[in-house]
């Protein structure tokens, strides 16, 4: 059977195998793109300006599909504009953490020796720093804007990406073509960028998507602690106000269920997308 598989791979190699997309993959892609669209076209999609104030605590009716909140702002418009915060925090944090993580993993995996020891030592330390207190510290220090929260999460979560990239880099470092390039005298930087990096993208991509997911959950949690960015509509802040301004008690379930559901669906779509990417790369479904 094994030689047959080689043959199969051979075919896969020369003729680009069309993407086998599982049903859940399609679902993930559909939700993911619809949320991105919602974030991009918020001003167009939103029925009203999210900051404009109507009557407070209106139940859902034809004018306000999801009713209005304690300041009378239309909840549906807030919901649509809220997607922007999640996108900013999600992608900002993910880009940051993946970039640092990949770089650290590459360097420590490729050079090994002292570099490896130092970088792995640093990751141990970063793993042990309690995250929520640090976020509160910096939120207290700087003017808390969403970019800061994204930046901060990026600086905290690169460790797991670094570990994954390092182990992959260690493997690739031993392969023939890398040894060949080294013997041809290419600079290690060139080798890392042109040979090792392309081969670890299939490991980095799912990690990138998963860190988007955890960044979004963290943003919602921080807003719950009341440290969100008040100048920007975000789902986390909506839930926070829903619970602190009587939404929970007076049974205005649409006020907190809508953003809660959006967060879950957006994160779900990102996770499904991540696992689909993994499946296509025949690295089996590793949902970390």
């Amino acid at each position: 059977m094994t030689d047959f598989c080689e043959r199969l791979n051979e075919w896969k190699g020369n003729r680009l195998m069309p993407m086998i997309i599982s049903k859940s993959g399609w679902l993930g892609l559909a939700f993911f793109s619809s949320f991105l669209l919602m974030a991009a076209l918020s001003p167009v999609l939103a029925p009203y300006d999210p900051w404009y104030r109507f009557e407070p605590y209106l139940p859902p009716d034809e004018l306000h599909l999801l009713g209005t909140n304690d300041l009378g702002q239309d909840i549906l418009s807030e919901l649509i504009f809220g997607s922007r915060a999640s996108v900013i925090v999600g992608f900002g944090a993910a880009l940051m953490s993946t970039a640092i993580g990949t770089a650290a993993g590459l360097v420590s995996g490729y050079f090994r020796g002292m570099a490896d020891e130092i970088i792995m030592g640093i990751t141990d330390i970063f793993l042990m720093i309690p995250q929520i207190p640090l976020i509160i510290v910096l939120a207290a220090f700087l003017r808390p804007s969403l970019w800061l929260v994204a930046l901060l999460m990026g600086c905290l979560w690169w460790t797991s990406t670094a570990r994954v990239v390092r182990s992959k880099a260690l493997q690739i470092r031993e392969t023939g073509y890398v040894q060949a390039n080294r013997s041809l005298g290419f600079s290690s930087l060139h080798i890392m960028l042109s040979d090792v990096l392309p081969n670890i993208t299939h490991v980095v991509m799912p990690k990138f998507l998963l860190s988007i997911a955890s960044a979004m959950i963290a943003e919602a949690s921080i807003s719950f602690l009341g440290l969100g960015d008040p100048t920007m509509k975000s789902w986390g802040m909506m839930i926070n106000f829903a619970f602190s301004r009587g939404g929970f008690l007076n049974g205005l379930w649409w006020w907190y269920m809508a953003p809660g559901l959006c967060i879950t669906l957006f994160v779900l779509s990102v996770v499904l997308l991540g696992s689909m990417l993994e499946e296509r790369e025949s690295v089996s479904l590793r949902l970390q």
Partner: protein
């Protein structure tokens, strides 16, 4: 036609006798296996017929990727999920292909054992070698672990790995040859009736390959088992097997006793295959093996066949020509219009 007649005279009486009174322990009848892939349906085996007699060793040879592993794996239902299998594999009156997984698990390891190609990957890296050998005993005969381990130790000694430390070691601490012996021990521990060996010598250096094959042959004889050997190494096949079947692009194109095939190859592909051997001058076969998704019509070797004729590529009329021995047992088969 001349080769056929030469063959008829060359047939020695003794050889055919030894086959006559043996019953066929395993007979594969019209086996077809196809895989659903994104590229379309891959016909990995197309109407394969093969008989394995008691105490007989049959070598299934062919280029890499001609589907020989698929045939063998389908017998013990070890094919991946997207495979669909048609045909029958009769073993002791039962069709193996229609058995449920539970019954099949009962047969695997105890009556039909399989030796994989890549020993260091086929053994679980984090379980001791002796335990992996003893496992079939625990599973099939329900013996307590201690007794099973003793039997495993005994098997290892029979395979020349008697030194004290080995049972306690892990596969990654052993060489490729030693791992292969561990796999053989695991396969042979319940002395199965049929051994299926899938490229056992591949990946091993020359002399350890010979040693391993010698071990397999010795164990096969002492257990009185029949062996179905998959290999692309014709020299090895000649040394150890009684009969040989040559496969090309999912079809068996020629079978017969080793000596007969080596001396008078009938099918042009078999001739070309033999010419590739070092002792015959390393002549490569022109062209490449056809795709199994849209195989060429008629004779699949047609595009590369030096002795091809016009009607070779016609769809109809190509079937297996059989040459029977005195008591009606099949001496030779060949799928070629020349005969």
């Amino acid at each position: 036609m001349t080769d056929l007649q030469d063959f008829m005279q060359g047939c020695s009486r003794a050889a055919s006798e030894s086959m006559a009174n043996n019953q066929a322990i395993l007979s594969i009848e019209d086996l077809s296996v196809s895989f659903e892939t994104a590229m379309g349906r891959v016909m990995a085996a197309d109407g394969v017929c093969l008989k394995l007699h008691e105490r007989e060793t049959v070598a299934l040879v062919g280029e890499t990727g001609c589907g020989k592993s698929v045939v063998v794996s389908s017998i013990v239902q070890l094919l991946p999920g997207n495979a669909s299998v048609r045909g029958r594999a009769i073993y002791e009156g039962r069709d193996l292909l229609s058995l449920g997984e539970k019954e099949m698990a009962g047969i695997r390891g105890s009556e039909i054992a399989m030796i994989f190609q890549n020993p260091s990957l086929a053994l679980n890296p984090i379980i001791k070698a002796a335990e992996q050998i003893a496992e079939p005993v625990i599973i099939h005969w329900r013996l307590p672990k201690s007794q099973a381990l003793d039997k495993a130790g005994e098997m290892l000694r029979r395979l020349g790995l008697g030194n004290r430390a080995i049972p306690g070691m892990f596969p990654f601490q052993l060489s490729g040859g030693m791992n292969q012996r561990v796999m053989i021990a695991a396969a042979m521990i319940l002395s199965p009736k049929i051994i299926i060996a899938d490229e056992p010598s591949k990946g091993l250096d020359a002399n350890s390959a010979d040693e391993v094959m010698g071990e397999i042959a010795r164990l096969r004889d002492s257990a009185g088992a029949s062996l179905l050997l998959i290999t692309h190494d014709l020299g090895l096949a000649r040394k150890i097997s009684d009969r040989m079947a040559v496969m090309y692009c999912g079809q068996i194109i020629e079978t017969g006793r080793c000596e007969d095939i080596f001396n008078q190859p009938l099918h042009p592909y078999t001739k070309a295959l033999l010419n590739c051997l070092p002792q015959r001058g390393f002549q490569p076969i022109p062209g490449s093996s056809p795709s199994m998704i849209e195989p060429p019509e008629g004779c699949r070797f047609y595009p590369r066949c030096p002795e091809r004729q016009d009607e070779c590529c016609m769809k109809a009329g190509l079937q297996m020509v059989r040459i029977l021995g005195p008591e009606g047992e099949v001496l030779r088969e060949v799928r070629c219009r020349l005969y």
